[in-house]
């Protein structure tokens, strides 16, 4: 013979009134499953938003990278796009005559190169001047180049080859008129020079340009130490906006000025900026529209949970109340047998707790498992992700059930056994 404990009473009563116990479990189960499901949907929506935005950002980044790369290739094919010259030089005259009236010096070019100024790359000092080449029998442009005196990264190749003293490159038109090829010799002011390259036909003034070593050009033109300016390539970050370059250069060479002369690279930069702007707007649009929908969903989840909670609370109060009414006789007899108020409260609360915990746990597990079947695997959501939500729903379900049992338990405790037993005979 085993001693009788309150838990035996609880278990026996649960078995005896299994239908109403099952109803209470089902009420809690359905409520928990629905509430849990609605919040899982919200979580999945958040994850999808996160993924969409991530994908969009990635696509945008790839497009920007492609444009950057394209711009780099493009810029490189265009060659230099920045010209640093003496600010006193009238550019119109320079374009008309191909001859500088005001010069920079080689030392100034060196100062700029040594500064490592980050907005410029590939510094090429150049002396350019129209020259009457007697041996040629007409005017040509002499382009004196020294080779690039600054390249930002070691792995980058120079855009322009270095011309050694006594070496020249001939523009395509010059070579054609002189009928010379690579390896030939030409005379300039009585001095012999080796033709190391005949440049491709470009359809520009480059076709009538005689490229010489800078020192040789300065000697031929009698411009010792002077240069028309420095050709360079602006970094992509500054392309399209020459002001920061100008300010940086003028800090180092106060009398210098800067002009960006390749407009196509500017157009490319503007296109890049437009893409960036469009991507950002698209991102903002998606974020806003999904944010609005998220707000509506969360409002719905909240109201739905509130409604389910209240409906379940009412149903549980009814079920527990009806149970307390069914148990009037037995509670009265237990009170007559000396059972304390706490023990009677305990019987009701323990029953409510057991039923609600079963309902909550099964409901949450069902909801999570069913949801997992419908969630795309690439969202990377697992059962473990629902742990905090499950804990909150279970705790809320338990608290609600506890609350629902409060009034019936109170009425059971307060009932007068004498009245009940007299009524029942």
């Amino acid at each position: 013979m085993k001693p009788l404990k309150l838990r035996h009473l609880l278990i026996a009563e649960l078995k005896f009134r299994w239908a109403s116990s099952l109803m209470a479990i089902l009420a809690v189960l359905v409520a928990c499953a629905c509430v849990c499901g609605s919040f899982i949907a919200l979580k999945v929506y958040d994850k999808e938003t996160q993924m969409s935005i991530g994908e969009l950002q990635e696509r945008s980044r790839e497009r920007m990278e492609a444009l950057e790369s394209e711009a780099r290739i493009f810029s490189k094919s265009l060659g230099f796009n920045i010209f640093i010259y003496n600010g006193s030089q009238e550019l119109g005259d320079f374009y008309n005559t191909d001859t500088s009236t005001h010069f920079l010096t080689e030392q100034q070019a060196d100062v700029l190169a040594k500064s490592g100024f980050e907005l410029l790359n590939h510094h090429l000092p150049v002396l350019r001047e129209r020259f009457h080449w007697k041996e040629y029998g007409g005017d040509v442009i002499i382009g004196g180049i020294k080779g690039e005196i600054f390249i930002k990264r070691k792995w980058q190749k120079p855009l322009e080859v270095e011309l050694k003293p006594s070496e020249v490159h001939l523009g395509h038109a010059l070579a054609k008129k002189l009928s010379v090829e690579k390896g030939a010799k030409v005379m300039v002011l009585g001095k012999s020079y080796d033709v190391t390259q005949v440049r491709e036909h470009l359809g520009s003034k480059d076709d009538i340009t005689l490229y010489m070593n800078l020192g040789d050009a300065q000697s031929v033109l009698n411009r010792p130490g002077q240069i028309s300016g420095v050709l360079a390539i602006s970094c992509n970050c500054a392309a399209g906006d020459v002001d920061p370059i100008r300010r940086g250069v003028q800090r180092l060479i106060p009398e210098a000025d800067v002009v960006e002369f390749v407009v196509r690279s500017k157009a490319r930069q503007q296109a890049r900026q437009a893409v960036a702007k469009t991507s950002s707007a698209e991102l903002k649009d998606i974020s806003n529209s999904r944010g609005d929908l998220r707000l509506s969903l969360s409002r719905f989840s909240f109201l739905f949970s509130l409604f389910m909670g209240l409906a379940t609370l009412v149903l549980l109060v009814f079920l527990y109340g009806s149970n307390a009414n069914d148990r009037r006789g037995e509670i009265s007899i237990l009170k007559t047998l000396g059972l304390s108020t706490c023990s009677i409260y305990g019987l009701f609360f323990a029953k409510a707790s057991v039923l609600s915990l079963i309902g909550c746990i099964v409901g949450v597990l069902l909801s999570c498992s069913i949801s997992l079947c419908f969630i795309k695997p690439d969202l990377g959501i697992s059962l473990l992700d629902f742990t905090p939500l499950a804990a909150i729903v279970i705790a809320s379900g338990w608290a609600m059930s506890f609350l629902a049992s409060w009034l019936p338990a109170r009425s059971a405790v307060r009932q007068d056994p004498a009245v009940v037993l007299s009524e029942e005979g």
Binding site: M1, K2, P3, L4, K5, L6, H8, L9, A12, E13, K15, F16, R17, G329, E330, S332, I333, L334, K335, T336, L337, G338, L339, S340, T341, S343, D416, P417, A418, L421, S422, E424, G425
Partner: protein
């Protein structure tokens, strides 16, 4: 053992005061079986409930072993009641989902520290319920159910047994069996206060307290 002084009980029904007990004095010392008789509505059951500490009187005192029951707080009174008073009702009031063994042991729930399983075995043997221990009350006859109710009432070895129409739902044979148990209990020093309509049963009691219209009209 049980002293009742000027017990009155009234209640209001449809704005009208109804007086159920109009001042009852009774002193029962030692054991014995005391029958409470009278017509229906004379206040027998109310008197028994007050004597057992289940119903608060409007006026008067109830002393059980010199302890004033209604000066105690609710749970203290329940505890005292559980240890001193046993109840038997006409409709048995067994708990429907507990088996017979558990129904008898239900009295032990208020005294969790006492080992009452041996006492339960003893009562089961004495009342001839051994073969029914694992059955639920609905499977038992009325006589068996009343014996289970008696075993439950006697489990805590009370000093007083209050029985309200204990044989009202039983045939003569079972009624006699119940009375024999009362007799044994009183012989061992217990006090039985029994409300009954059964005159033959009342005659076998040690005293008869006759009630009429809320008053104790005679005590034989």
């Amino acid at each position: 053992m049980l002293t009742v002084k000027n017990i009155q009980k009234s209640y209001t029904d449809s704005n009208e005061d109804v007086s159920v007990l109009k001042g009852i004095d009774l002193e029962l010392k030692g054991g014995g079986i005391h029958a409470v008789v009278g017509p229906s509505g004379c206040g027998k059951s109310t008197f028994l409930l007050i004597c057992g500490g289940l119903l608060q009187p409007s006026k008067g005192t109830v002393l059980v072993n010199d302890e004033n029951l209604f000066e105690l707080k609710g749970d203290e009174r329940s505890k005292l009641r559980a240890s001193l008073v046993g109840y038997v009702f006409q409709k048995f009031h067994l708990i429907p989902y507990l088996n017979i063994e558990q129904n008898i042991l239900a009295s032990s729930l208020s005294m969790p520290n006492e080992n009452l399983e041996d006492r339960c075995k003893e009562l089961v043997e004495e009342l001839g319920l051994g073969h029914r221990l694992k059955h639920i009350p609905s499977k038992l006859s009325s006589g068996e159910q009343q014996r289970v109710a008696l075993a439950r009432a006697l489990l805590n070895k009370p000093k007083i047994l209050i029985a309200d129409e204990p044989t009202g739902n039983l045939d003569t044979e079972n009624g006699n069996a119940v009375f024999d148990i009362f007799k044994k209990f009183s012989d061992e020093g217990g006090l039985v206060l029994m409300a009954t309509h059964d005159r033959e049963l009342a005659k076998r009691a040690d005293s008869i307290q006759s009630f009429d219209k809320g008053l104790l009209v005679s005590s034989i």
